[in-house]
């Protein structure tokens, strides 16, 4: 339609100004998308939780261990179809100052763990070899790629929680079932850890970091949680049983202050977008005051004028927004590459894309508001007299 053609031509009038505005908006939209991606990445673990898994951990903090003896009783609770367990090993790989060297190192029950976590897929022969070899380990594909681990390599870890020098031979590499699965973990035998600790620091053996339960019917979860926690309420090591989702969420909540700060900054960015765009549109509209008056003289209505102003605003916002959104992907990827294991899953969510588009559209509308009102209110006579 004609209005569109005029809008497009108007935008091209001051090419430099239009380009700068588009650039400014695209940078702001990109930051918005980037920050939101960080926020969503933080809760990626929550999203990928399984609906039928529960975690049992020490009631005070998951960094305190639970006795291995609990396993027997927990597995006999009706509704629990499988029990597995794991210990956070920690330790230091090569230079701890290099962020790339940080990846989760976990001692697990070799027999049950991979069944409990079917999203970790690997060839059956690799799994079999792992199960047989006590000092072996399985690493995720992402970390294998980043650090060049191949089957047969020995990974040396300097223990901190469990002191001493440990070597684990890679016997398998697992792939995540979908994009949201963590592929950065190194998993080895809990039995191996237990035996060595018994030798090195007698008295520390027989401890589990946390238990993982598979539950037949998710609706029974609250009841099962109560049963377990009640059982150990008055023990030295009390338990807290929760769904996997709640467990992951508790990690996210730990950093809630940081996440909230990032969200606040996102809002500030929206404000900046609007200011930059509004500035340009106000200038543009003011320059064309006489033209708008002429159009009115010819017989175009105030709504036509409003359409011209909003159209230009939306067009610039749209192009800037699209550009910014496009830039978000490579910037996010670059950031993720700097900290590959910090955020094991770092994708730009669909919601983020949608929100960024909404923000751009909203900015387009708001920026045009003031000049539109001014143009609508101005009488033709004043408009003709005006000097842009």
């Amino acid at each position: 339609m004609f209005i569109l053609k005029l809008v497009l031509k108007n935008t091209l009038r001051h090419k430099l100004r239009t380009i700068l505005t588009i650039l400014g908006i695209s940078i702001a939209v990109m930051s918005f998308g980037f920050l939101r991606t960080i926020v969503t990445a933080w809760s990626a673990g929550v999203e990928s939780s399984a609906a039928n898994r529960m975690i049992v951990r020490h009631s005070v903090s998951f960094i305190f261990p639970l006795p291995y003896a609990y396993r027997e009783r927990i597995s006999r609770i009706p509704g629990v179809t499988m029990v597995s367990y794991a210990n956070w090993f920690g330790g230091v790989y090569k230079d701890p100052a290099d962020f790339k060297n940080f990846f989760p190192r976990v001692a697990v029950d070799a027999e049950t763990y991979f069944e409990m976590y079917p999203e970790f897929t690997l060839p059956p022969d690799q799994l079999a070899t792992f199960k047989q070899e006590r000092s072996s380990c399985i690493v995720g594909e992402k970390i294998a790629r980043e650090l060049g681990f191949k089957i047969g390599d020995a990974i040396p870890i300097e223990g901190d929680i469990y002191p001493g020098r440990w070597d684990f031979v890679v016997r398998g590499i697992y792939k995540g079932k979908d994009a949201s699965t963590d592929e950065t973990q190194m998993l080895f035998h809990w039995n191996y850890l237990n035996e060595r600790i018994k030798e090195l620091q007698p008295g520390r053996e027989g401890n589990v970091g946390w238990y993982i339960l598979r539950v037949q019917n998710p609706r029974e979860m609250p009841a099962i949680a109560r049963t377990v926690d009640q059982e150990y309420l008055n023990s030295r090591a009390g338990t807290k049983t929760e769904t996997e989702k709640e467990f992951q969420q508790s990690f996210v909540s730990m950093s809630s202050a940081i996440i909230r700060s990032l969200e606040v900054v996102s809002f500030i960015i929206i404000g900046i977008i609007m200011l930059v765009l509004a500035n340009t549109i106000v200038m543009a509209a003011r320059e064309r005051t006489t033209e708008y008056a002429v159009l009115k003289t010819i017989g175009f209505s105030s709504w036509h004028i409003a359409g011209l102003i909003s159209g230009e605003s939306l067009l610039i916002a749209g192009i800037g927004g699209a550009l910014g959104l496009g830039l978000t992907f490579p910037v996010a990827a670059g950031f993720a590459n700097m900290f590959p294991t910090f955020f094991p899953v770092f994708n730009v969510a669909t919601l983020t894309i949608f929100l960024a588009a909404l923000v751009a559209a909203f900015a387009g509308v708001v920026a045009a508001l003031f000049p539109t009102i001014r143009a609508l209110r101005m009488t033709i006579a004043d408009g003709l007299r005006a000097i842009g």
Binding site: R13, T290, V294, L295, G299, F300, S302, T379, I380, A381
Partner: protein, 220 residues
């Protein structure tokens, strides 16, 4: 054709009320070429604006071709203008981003004519003003006189009943001014257009049938 009856108009600047026109009554018969003259601030442009329907009087009536435009509301006025008035400005006021053709086409976009029909009207208008060979040019590629002629083409493309011109030669050199006035003369004599023109230029006023003088908002 145009019956201005007892109109008054004053402007409010802050808290002051400045009277611009006081009880003006004019009759402009069909086919007339009227020139309004007077010193700055005499109200002649205001009167022109009122007749053209781009301003409203405080009191009185303005009947153009049977319609009292003082009673029309904003949007009705806009529609009325698009059918009945062609406006020519001192500073041409062409849209710089549109070609001569597109500028002239503007008023037609408010009608229901097809693209082909619009093209016909535009081309004939531009030919009439002698710029048939410059249709694709942008205003900045035209001289002042040529720009004004495009503006005239725009003013007549909808075949309006009244042509209203505010200092049409004010910004032109003698030769261009002469061309423009010849054109207006032709529109009046050949095409029977009613023209109301405000001007300072005595040479422009020569072409008019009748000259009226305004001073301090009153006819003298």
């Amino acid at each position: 054709m145009i019956e201005v009856h007892n109109i008054s108009k004053s402007y409010r600047r802050d808290s002051l009320e400045i009277p611009v026109l006081s009880n003006i009554t004019i009759d402009v018969p069909e086919g007339e070429f009227l020139a309004l003259m007077g010193p700055s601030g005499s109200g002649k442009t205001t009167l022109l604006n009122l007749i053209a329907g781009i301003d409203r009087p405080d009191s009185g009536s303005i009947v153009v071709n049977g319609t009292d435009i003082a009673t029309l509301n904003e949007s009705m006025l806009a529609t009325w203008r698009s059918h009945n008035v062609g406006f020519i400005f001192q500073f041409y006021n062409l849209l710089p981003v549109l070609t001569a053709f597109e500028n002239v086409e503007l008023p037609l976009l408010l009608t229901s004519l097809s693209k082909k029909e619009r093209r016909e009207h535009v081309e004939s208008s531009l030919h009439l003003v002698g710029l048939g060979d410059r249709m694709k040019h942008y205003p900045k590629q035209l001289s002042g006189g040529q720009e004004q002629r495009v503006a005239i083409a725009r003013a007549i493309v909808t075949d309006p009943t009244v042509l209203v011109a505010d200092e049409p030669t004010g910004d032109l050199d003698r030769v261009s001014a002469g061309e423009v006035m010849t054109l207006l003369d032709r529109l009046n004599k050949e095409f029977k257009k009613t023209i109301v023109m405000v001007t300072h230029d005595p040479r422009a006023a020569e072409k008019a049938h009748k000259v009226m003088h305004l001073d301090k908002g009153e006819l003298t």
